[in-house]
């Protein structure tokens, strides 16, 4: 059982909800990301999602696109991100997953990637452009190294796809709250979405809902419908607007508010 699985098991005992926060690794540089990770942990984040920057982030909105560009400009790479997590692991047991696009992982070699990721203490991986249909060999490799390969589901997913992901996924299921890209406006009809309802009935894996959660109030509402809430663009935007020095404090203070909102349930 890796740290993500343990975390959900613990939360289940306490009937608590998970606060999952996303930041782009290497934005504006990897040293800052590492400091930010510690701040987020002390702010009450349960699971940390690190975005691996890609030159062509097709499912991301402008905020994450720009943060990826900043990270790449500062020289971030999958290899350096893994090394940074390894260093972070010396002083923290915060569950960590990497989220990104397939090509950097293919270029690294996916067998090598899962081996190195596991050794560095990375618990999960979410590959945005890898649906289960194309993921069999990669899933086997992740599994053999104890890394959870996390899949996405969306409001457009039908019962067949929900079944497929529930069967093949690991760690948790990342439910995309809206038909859109990251940072868009959250759907008002979340609670009535058929796919989410079907998914909640399955109860095979924990469900985390993300995309478009901008305020602690929204997060609290979303948390009533899921096992965890993912907050990304709202935090990343602060790094952009506040710069390194004030950004750390700004992100930490917003994360604290999200944490209180999400953890007030249960």
């Amino acid at each position: 059982m890796n740290r993500i699985e343990t975390k959900f098991k613990d939360l289940k005992h306490q009937s608590g909800k998970a606060f999952v926060s996303f930041i782009t690794a290497g934005d504006p540089n990897l040293a800052t990301t590492e400091r930010l990770m510690h701040r987020l942990e002390s702010a009450g984040v349960d699971i940390l999602e690190l975005g691996v920057p890609f030159s062509d982030p097709m499912a991301d909105g402008p905020v994450i696109q720009r943060s990826s560009e900043r990270a790449l400009k500062a020289g971030a790479s999958l290899k350096k991100i893994i090394a940074m997590v390894k260093k972070f692991r010396r002083s923290s047991q915060l569950p960590i997953l990497l989220m990104g696009y397939l090509n950097p992982i293919l270029a690294y070699g996916f067998e090598d990637y899962f081996r190195d990721a596991a050794a560095a203490g990375i618990d999960g991986t979410l590959i945005v452009d890898l649906p289960p249909e194309e993921g069999e060999a990669i899933r086997r490799s992740a599994h053999s190294h104890g890394v959870s390969l996390i899949y996405l589901l969306a409001p457009t997913s039908d019962d067949e796809r929900i079944g497929l992901v529930a069967k093949q996924g690991a760690g948790f299921i990342y439910y995309v709250s809206l038909t859109g890209i990251t940072g868009a406006k959250i759907a008002a009809d979340l609670s009535s979405q058929r796919a989410l309802k079907t998914l909640r009935r399955q109860r095979t894996l924990p469900i985390c809902v993300g995309f478009g959660v901008k305020t602690p109030a929204q997060a609290k509402k979303v948390a009533t419908l899921a096992d965890g809430v993912v907050v990304g663009s709202a935090l990343v935007e602060l790094i952009e607007t506040h710069g390194v020095k004030n950004g750390l404090t700004a992100v930490e203070s917003l994360a604290k508010r999200f944490s209180r909102a999400i953890h007030s349930l249960g």
């Binding site: 890609f54 030159s55 062509d56 982030p57 097709m58 499912a59 991301d60 909105g61 696109q65 560009e69 790449l72 790479s77 999958l78 290899k79 696009y101 397939l102 090509n103 950097p104 992982i105 293919l106 270029a107 690294y108 945005v128 452009d129 890898l130 649906p131 249909e133 194309e134 899949y151 996405l152 589901l153 969306a154 409001p155 457009t156 997913s157 039908d158 796809r161 992901v165 995309v176 038909t179 859109g180 890209i181 868009a184």
Partner: protein, 406 residues
């Protein structure tokens, strides 16, 4: 090695059910789009065997697009090269390029799928114009995504699209060219997937696009195969076409794949030369990877980040290539070469002066290759070149190249 691989191409059963051409192709997209791709695949399977669709397609192809296009014996090019050179005149299609063959098929499909809104990406603007044209003809809302850099160098086509009633949305991210336009079109599709049809312009993207676009463009090769046999009494020795994403190339090549004696050459955009790093030759200078929903050859750095490309021709300025072409390269069925901007411009001038035909800069790459390699080919060969588009749209770029201000 090559021989056994050739055998495996016959009978030709690619793509497989999941859209794979060997290791290439597939469907690498965000989950939100998976149901839409399945819906599209089902719709395509349905129309494929539908006689009324075929009839409708053929009727518009004949009376609206102007098919069949001629196969023209270029006697002065032939004289200059010592071969028999035939040009497949896709430049004579309505809208000025082969792109319309595909948009006709896809827009007829969008209508049957009851989609009200159509989006497209475009590089040179030819696919954008062809999509806008069909949308005007059938009264559909149309939005075209185009890189800011391409908007600058293909301003005439931007104006044409607007005249046709399309909204042209500039894309400033990344290198502001075709790949970024495709990213933005995919983002739009993810957001409005329920009412929107995404009309991809080349044999790339997630399954079933590479299959569908190949099938619609194969009309080029089917006609050329009959025409060349009628005019010469036999099959050609060589086929040549420029390759960006690869739709004009595969359209010409596909009906000849089983004709083992026919040598097939795809000409990629060499930019300033492959060794310069400033080019767009995905097969010549790339390695397999995943972008825009498919696995194929891709220009990328060692970390798997996509490298900015360069070509004088906006339509070839793309870091990837269709998965089927990657597969046919690996199987040894198609030889891929590249020519530089300079060689393409030489091909452009050559055809213009010798035959009175101004080619698109994309097509000029195939002519540039013929010009530089004619002497190395077996004497008196029959050569069919796909003249995929006409050059009107490129006057600004060509004038710049020659230092002329218009």
């Amino acid at each position: 090695m090559k021989k056994s691989q050739h055998r495996s191409l016959s009978p030709y059963r690619f793509p497989d059910k999941k859209g794979h051409f060997g290791e290439f192709g597939g469907r690498y997209v965000a989950e939100t789009l998976m149901p839409a791709l399945k819906e599209l695949e089902a719709a395509y399977q349905k129309i494929k065997g539908d006689a009324s669709f075929r009839k409708e397609f053929q009727s518009y192809a004949a009376d609206y697009v102007g098919r069949p296009t001629p196969l023209y014996f270029a006697s002065r090019l032939s004289e200059a090269t010592g071969h028999r050179v035939y040009l497949k005149r896709e430049d004579l299609c309505h809208t000025g390029a082969h792109k319309v063959n595909n948009t006709l098929g896809q827009i007829l499909m969008a209508l049957r799928m009851k989609k009200k809104r159509v989006i497209a990406e475009t590089g040179a603007g030819q696919h954008g114009v062809a999509t806008a044209t069909m949308c005007a003809r059938f009264g559909l809302e149309c939005e075209v995504f185009m890189g800011d850099e391409d908007i600058r160098r293909q301003s005439l086509n931007v104006f044409r699209m607007k005249l046709l009633g399309a909204k042209v949305t500039g894309v400033s991210s990344g290198s502001a060219t075709l790949k970024d336009a495709m990213n933005e079109a995919l983002r739009d599709w993810i957001t409005r997937v329920q009412d929107t049809y995404y009309c991809i312009g080349t044999v790339a993207g997630p399954h079933p696009y590479p299959l569908m676009v190949r099938d619609f463009q194969s009309v080029i090769g089917k006609e050329a195969r009959k025409q060349v046999q009628k005019q010469t009494g036999r099959l050609p020795d060589y086929l040549m076409a420029c390759v960006g994403g690869g739709s004009n190339a595969l359209g010409l090549f596909f009906p000849f794949l089983q004709d083992k004696r026919v040598k097939i050459i795809g000409v990629e955009a060499g930019g300033d030369g492959l060794s310069s790093g400033r080019h767009a030759a995905a097969i010549g200078g790339g390695k397999p990877g995943v972008l825009h929903g498919q696995k194929s050859y891709l220009l990328q750095d060692p970390d798997g980040q996509i490298i900015p490309t360069h070509s004088i021709s906006a339509g070839l300025d793309y870091p990837g290539v269709g998965p089927e072409l990657s597969f046919l390269h690996q199987a040894g069925r198609i030889d891929f070469v590249s020519v530089t901007d300079k060689e393409a411009m030489a091909g452009f001038d050559w055809l213009t002066r010798l035959e009175g035909i101004i080619p698109a800069l994309e097509s000029a790459h195939a002519l540039g290759f013929l010009k530089k390699s004619a002497k190395k080919l077996k004497k008196n060969s029959i050569i069919v070149i796909n003249l995929s588009g006409r050059g009107d749209k490129d006057m600004g770029t060509v004038a710049d190249y020659h230092g002329v201000s218009l």
